[in-house]
Symmetry: C2
Subunit: 197 residues, 2 copies
Amino acid sequence: MDRVKQAQEDSTDTATQILDVAERLVQVRGFNAFSYADVAGELGLTNAALHYHFPSKPELGEALIARYAIRFMGALAEIDESFSDPLQKIDAYTGLYAGVLRSQRMCLCGMLAADYETLSTGMRGAVVDFFEGNERWLAEVLKQGRDDGTLDFPGSPLEEARSIVSGLEGAMLIARSMGEIKRFKSAATHLMTALRP
Amino acid sequence: MDRVKQAQEDSTDTATQILDVAERLVQVRGFNAFSYADVAGELGLTNAALHYHFPSKPELGEALIARYAIRFMGALAEIDESFSDPLQKIDAYTGLYAGVLRSQRMCLCGMLAADYETLSTGMRGAVVDFFEGNERWLAEVLKQGRDDGTLDFPGSPLEEARSIVSGLEGAMLIARSMGEIKRFKSAATHLMTALRP
DNA sequence: GTCTATAGGCAGATAGAC
DNA sequence: GTCTATCTGCCTATAGAC
């Protein structure tokens, strides 16, 4: 876990470079469709060097999710600081997803949700935690919006939050295959529209 | 393609049994996380026997999607015959997805959408066709519902159809990881609620 | 149609030199 | 920290006997 912190501070660190390449490969191809050799090849390293930094593939996977989750939660904290209007917060939230999709990638944890049955227990827990963190943040924003009258929706804030996270992940998943970011934008707008009182 | 037809008529046919096992493995683990040996082992056959029926893995993959798409479109035709009310049709449509999830599986094409970048061009085209077929059918139902006043939604029927397909696929993807079918049901209900005038 | 046998390659992982 | 060298195992795929 110290390695994760260090990686955020020094972007030329080898461990960081490994995480960067591996992250992209997982987001594009999936956890079971990339190899240590793929990453090593891109960085001009050997297979063995990677194993020094991340002894096993599941450990690499857990480090990937940990870093991704920290970054994502950090982005949510920035949104909280930048906006007070709940609708603007949610708009910024969908923007995070759009940014990922724009780089031709799927959400890391969305991809890992597809690979879920083949993951180690450590990776599984981390994926679940990621989604629960997203839902908690979003539910809080929704609650705030309902309280101040800027948002309206049926059911509980948590249920609505779950529907939104599902909708965004599904829209990313399909938009990537269909080759149109427009499809994602349309789905995101649709989810936002449904929140207007 | 003749093999697909034959497979639907004779469920003891070896090709059919291969497709059955491979289909489940793809839906649970993903296309890159199952092997010919996995399928052969379950059926008490050898690797070589599978290659006789499906010479290469991409060809097996294309046969899987072809059969899945035929079955799914058949189910949509049955819905059209069974119901005339658009809302009931859509309820039955979400029921198809719920049935897949209930058997601990992800939608075949939703899973393949995650694996998309690693698929052959033939498989990619078949996945896209599957989603477009779904969207077309759903858009037609939505149009019918808007025309007869039983449904209301913002934007075009096709845009709404795409949002619904995305929402259902995303809900399946996440509900499977979170281990709660309830989550899917909740999301499906949410999508239906939004269609009421 | 299914088998045995096998090819050729790539996977994740380790030992030991530098 | 990174290398070379190597292990073991699994992968897709094929040849040829039955």
